[in-house]
């Protein structure tokens, strides 16, 4: 009985609901050939994503089509593209939810194009690197030779947690109207990550980041359009992070900002007992 039901469900999932037209912007990224729009007919089943549609084209219709992908589950952030005039992850976007029989695909705006739907994200990574997106501490001896873990309460985790979900897909940068006009503007992703580390109780890097984050092309150029937060596939709110950075800047300029002292190493838990059956950790292979 159960087998019959699941077989029916599988059959229904395999059923072709409709056929949609993919209109894909094709270009070589070097300006040698003129950009053009190619149309492809793609069969849609229940749950078919735009990424599935692109695979169908690659396997059956045009093997030269280029796009970037890896995980197929909204984790790696590789398959960002402009789908029906909105930056989305191709793997995260089901064709039926677009409610259109014509799917327009373009590479992410605000980035150079390598080929077809492949944007050059190196600008994003360079800007990301500029804000020092890692924990900076003054106690270098502890950082070099850690003696334990840094203490952090649940409340302290909450202060930055949502910003830690960023997968560096670049959708926020593609959606940002300021990035579109000011190529030197840091943009929502790096700024939100700067706030993520500034807000981390284990970090003391505000001073090290301020010259980049609070520069003429830093946080102050955000118009608070909120397009970045709308586009983020992971529910991060970069626009909010930038406003919190501005608040830090405002307090800093007026001399009200009190920089936190980085969290200390948590004392070892003396009362904890090791559960039975848990094997010993393997020996270090690198000293």
């Amino acid at each position: 009985m159960i087998d019959t039901v699941s077989a029916k469900q599988t059959e229904r999932a395999e059923e072709i609901i409709k056929t949609v037209q993919f209109k894909v912007l094709r270009c070589d990224g070097k300006g040698v050939t003129k950009p053009r729009v190619d149309s492809f007919e793609v069969p849609v089943k229940k749950g078919t994503t735009v990424l599935d549609g692109l695979h169908h084209i690659k396997e059956n219709l045009d093997s030269t089509l280029a796009w970037r992908y890896s995980c197929r589950m909204g984790v790696c952030g590789s398959c960002g593209m402009f789908i029906n005039s909105f930056p989305r992850l191709a793997c995260n976007t089901q064709i039926t939810e677009l409610e259109s029989d014509v799917i327009h695909l373009k590479p992410l705006p605000n980035f150079d194009i390598i080929k077809d739907l492949v944007p050059d994200l190196s600008v994003l990574f360079e800007k990301h690197r500029l804000v020092k997106p890692y924990t900076l501490r003054e106690d270098l001896a502890e950082v070099e030779n850690p003696t334990g873990e840094f203490f952090q309460s649940l409340d302290e985790v909450e202060r930055y947690l949502q910003f830690a979900y960023c997968i560096k897909c670049g959708l926020c940068m593609a959606a940002c109207p300021t990035v579109a006009t000011d190529r030197r503007y840091l943009g929502p992703q790096p700024l939100a990550q700067a706030y993520r580390y500034n807000a981390d109780s284990r970090d003391e890097g505000f001073r090290a980041r301020k010259d980049v984050v609070l520069s003429p092309h830093g946080a102050f150029r955000c118009h608070f359009a909120g397009a970045c937060s709308e586009a983020c596939p992971k529910g991060v709110d970069p626009a909010f992070g930038i406003q919190l950075l501005k608040r830090q800047a405002f307090a800093g300029a007026l001399g009200f900002l009190r920089l936190k002292k980085a969290a200390a190493v948590a004392p070892p838990v003396s009362s904890a007992k090791k559960l039975e059956g848990i094997p010993e950790a393997p020996k270090k292979t690198v000293q």
Binding site: R184, D211, L214, S215, A249, F250
Partner: protein, 123 residues
Amino acid sequence: MRTRESTFWTWHLLAGLVILVVLGIHMFVMHLSKLLGTDIGKGVLDYYTVMWRSTNVSFAVMYVVLLGAALYHGLYGLRTILFELTLSERAEKIISALIVFAGILLFVVGSYGTIAVYLRGTA
């Protein structure tokens, strides 16, 4: 804890607040006088009313403050708009210098007018 830009931007916000207050007073005095029943004499643009305001030290100070705040707020905003055009660093420096020059010049001319009228009226 501050950078040059964070200081400029903070002044921009504070200038906005000052404008809100001073422009509010201006609106009450100049445009809502009939509504509020604060109209003196033959209207706000009557010669004697204008002279009374111009020779009142509070109004003179308010005019200079409004001029300074409006110039700073407006010119910083203009600089921001121009900076968003992806200019070279050199172009940005030239724009900043021109804006500072224009701001100081307009402030000096405007303040001179206000102070000169005040001094002449009270002489």
